[in-house]
Amino acid sequence: MKKDFRETSKTGAVAWLLQRVSAVILFVILIYHFAVYHILARGNPPAWNEVVAKMQSPWFALLQFVFLTTALYHGLNGAWMVVEDYIHSRYLRLFIFSLIVLAAVALLFIGTLTIFKMASLKPGV
Amino acid sequence: MKIEEARKFHKIDAVVVGAGLAGLRAALEIAKNGSEVAVLSKVYPTRSHSGAAQGGIAASLANVTEDSEELHMFDTIKGSDYLGDQDVIEFFVEEAKKTVYEFEHMGVPFSRTEDGRINQRAFGGHSALRACFSADITGHVLLHTLYEQCLKHNVYFFNEFQVFSLLIEDDISRGVVAWDIRNGGLHIFHSKAVLLASGGYGRAFKITSNAFANTGDSLALILENNLPLEDMEFVQFHPTGLYKHGILLSEAARGEGAHLTNSKGERFMEKYAPEKMELAPRDVISRAEQTEINEGRGVDGKDAVHLDMRPIGAKRIMDRLPQVWELAYNYLEIDGRKAPVPIQPTAHYSMGGIPANIKTEVIKDAAGTPVVGLYAAGETSCLSLHGANRLGTNSLQGAATFGRVAGASMSAFVKANRREKMVEQPLNAAQAKIDAFMSGAGNEKHSTIREELQENMTNHAGVFRNKKGLQELQKTIEELQERFKKVTISDKGDAFNLDLIEAFEVGSMLVFSEVMAAGALAREESRGAHYRTDFPKRDDKKWLKHTLAWRTGKGVKLDFSKEVVIYMDRFPPLERKY
C-alpha cells in the first residue's frame, strides 16, 4: 500500500464548484454573445462602427470582461481537469500546469487589451 | 515433505478457518483482545455464504411485540424437536440481545421502527416478532460490517486460501496447512489455537440453497483425524427453493404474507398446520410440499408448488422483498407481483457438524473430552443449539454469538499457553492429496462423481427417507469413493486451479455423506428435519440422544451415549404441533 496516495492540496472541491458556477454564467453570456454577433446580424458581418459603438458602454465592456475571464477560467480549468485524469508524472504535470498558467496570463492580456482598445476608439472614425 | 518446502511458514497466535459470520466474529474478538489472528477463507470474506441470509437475526428485543428470553428459549427448544441442548439454548437466548446491540453499534444498518428502534418481523416457528432485519439483505450487511470491523482491528486476512489439512497430534491442535488458491503452493500456519468456522455443507445435495463453497471441507478433515461428527442425519430442507435452481426465496416472503398453493389453487397448509399455516416450521412445510407433489398436486405437473406473493401487494413486495422479486424475475422470468412463483424444497441448513461444547471447544467423545486448542463455531459446528431442526434466524444469531464465544475462549487460551511443537512433516497429508489428483493415471472426472452423489443424496436422504433407500445410498457412496481414487484433473497449473479445488471438495463431500447416510439409517424414528417414512413417529424413549459418528477403516462407527441436556422441570419434551 502506498502510504500517501495524495499529493495535491484540497483544491478539488473549489475547482469543481467554480467550474459549475462559471458554466452557468457562460451559458447565459455565451448564447447572448453568439446571438448578438452571429445570428441577429442575420449572417451579415458585424460592421466596424456598430462593434465599436457597443463597446462604448462601460456595462457592455464589463460584460465582455466578465465573459473573457469566465471563459478563460472555465476553459483552462477544464483543460487542467483533463490533464489530471491522464498525466500522472508529477514533473510533467507541473510543466503542463505552468504552460496553462502562462496561457491564461497571455490570453487574459490579449483579451483585456482588445476590450480597452475598442472601448477607447471613437466610433465612426 | 519438509517444512522448508512450504511456500511460506506462518507463526501466529490463532488461526480462524472461514470468514463467515462465525469466523469473523471470533477473529474480531481475538484481535480486540490483543492477540494476533489470521483468517483463512477460500473465498474473499465478503463472499462467504452468511451474506446470502436474507430474513433476519433472532433476538427477543421486544421492539415490536411482547417477547421474552423464556419465550425465545421455548420456541427454539420446541423447534429443535427437543434434541437441542437446553443449557446451550438458555445461554444463547440471553446473549442474543447483546449480540444484536453490538452489531448495531458496529454500524449494521437495521431496518427501523417508526420511533427509530431496530425493526423486527415474524418468522417461522417464532411466536413473537423476533427477527431483526435489514430489508432482505440481513446476512449481507452483518457480514460486511463484521469484515470492516476486522479490518479496523487489524485482523490478518489470507483470502483465497483453502485449508487442505489439520495439524493435530496427540489430541492437540498445532495449526493447519492451506493451499494458496491465487498463486498455488502450500502454506503452513503454526498456531496455538484453531477455529473451524467453515459453514454449511448443503452442496452434497442436488437441489440446495447453499453456495458452491459450502462443501464441508473441515468435516472431512475432522473425520480424517479420527474425530467424530455429531447429529449428521439432520439436514433442514427449506420449503421455498426456486424451482430447479434451489436458490432460496427468503422466508420473509411468507412472513410478509405470501401464500402456498398447489395445482388446484388450494392453500394446502390448511391440512398440515391449520394454526400457523405458512408460518409453520420449515420441516413441516417442506414435507407438506413434498406430499402435495408426490400425490400429484404439483403445479404444471412439475416437482413444484406455488409461492403466491400477490396477497402482499405490489408496493410492499418492492419495498420489503426486492431481492426475492428480483431472483424470481431473473431466473424464471416471473414477475412476483403478477404471478405465483414455482418453488420446491431445497437442502438448506445442516444441524449436525463438528461436536463442540458450550465454550466451542471441539470434543472427541461422548464424555466431552476436548481436543486441545481446537474450536468450532457456526454452521459447521454442532453445539447442539438447533437440535433436530433449526428455527429461521437462529442460525445467524448462533454463528455470531458463538463466534464471539469462540473468540473469547481462544484469546484466553492463547494467552495462557505456549505454542506446541510442530508435527513432523506437516505437509505430507496435504501434498499427498494434491499429488493424487495431479499425477493420477485414472480417467474419472470429479464432476461426474459429484453429480451422481448429489442426485443420490437428494433422492435417498432428502425430505423423506427410508431404510431401503438409505442402504442403496450407502452402497452408491462406497462405489463412488472407490471411483474417486481414480480421479485425475486436467489443470496442472499453480494459479487459480479451480479443477484442483473442486476435486478436493468432492473428496470432502464423499466422506461426510457417508456419515450422514449411516446416521440416517441408524436413527429409526422421525424427529425434526429427519423423517423416516418407515418410522414416522418420534421415539423419545429410544432416540432422545445425540449421534456421534467416526469413520473407521471398516465403515462408520456410531455412538448414541451422548445425552441431550434437558431441564425436565421447565421444558419437558412435548409433542411438536403447530
Binding site: K2, F5, R6, E7, T8, K10, G12, A13, V14, W16, L17, D85 | V43, Y44, T46, R47, S48, H49, G51, A52, Y101, E104, H105, M106, G107, P109, F110, S111, R112, T113, E114, G116, I118, I137, H140, V141, T145, E148, Q149, L151, R182, S209, A211, H245, Q323, E326, L327, Y331, L332, E333, K445, S447, I489, S490, D491, G493, F496, N497, L498, D499
Partner: protein
Amino acid sequence: MDKKKKIKVKILRYDPGKGKKPYWKFYEPEVDSDATILDVLNEIHWNIDGALAYRRSCRSAICGSCAMKVNGSNILACETPLHRFKGKALKIEPLPGFRIIKDLVVDLDSFFEKMNRVKPYLLLDKPMPDKEFVQSPEEFERIREACVCILCGSCTSSCPSLWANDEYLGPAALLKAYRFIFDTRDDGAAERIDIVNDRNGIWRCHTIFNCMEACPKHIKITEYLSRLKIKAVENSI
C-alpha cells in the same frame, strides 16, 4: 425439462504458467435453453475444458464473485440468463481495468484496498447507548441502497477514469464512503471527506454513468457520488 441446445462461446483465456498473452478460445457447449452464463461456464469447465478458471460461489447474485464482461457489458454470470443475448454468440472476458490472474479471474486486491482507505466503519465520538442508536426509517432509507453493494467490482471496472488512472478510488469505494458519511450514527464525516476530497478521489468522477449501467444491484451510484461531492464542497468552503 427444458430443451438442450448448442451455443457458440468464445472466452478470453490467460494462463500465467504458460506466460503468454491472453488469447481467445472457442467452445460449443450444449446447455439448457434457460441456462445462465454461469451454467454455461460450469458446463465448459466440468465437461469440456477443466482448466478454465473463474470465480463463483453463491450463484444467487449476492456474493459478487462472478462479475465478468459478456458481450460488452459487465454482468454477474450467475444471474444472467442466456436469453438476454437473444441467441447471439457469447463473448466472455474478465473485468477490464484489473490485472488478470488466470482466465476470468482478476486481481481485486487494489479494489479491496481502496475500500479500506475510506475507513469503512463507524467512527464514533458519542457514548454508546445501552440499547440501539436511534435512527428513523427515513434516515435508514438514505443509506439503504448503498448498503446493498456486493463489492463485485463491475462498476469500478467499467469506469473510464479508472482506466486512465489506477489510483482513482473508484465508484465502489466512494459509494462506501457515502454509506458511512450519510449514516446518522457516524461522527467521522470530516475525516472521511478529507480522504475522498482528493485528486484521486471523488473529483475524478465525471458523471460518466458506466458504473450505474454496470451495477448488478441497480444502485444509483452516480446520484450518491453527486451528494458526496456537494458534501465535500460544503466542508471545504
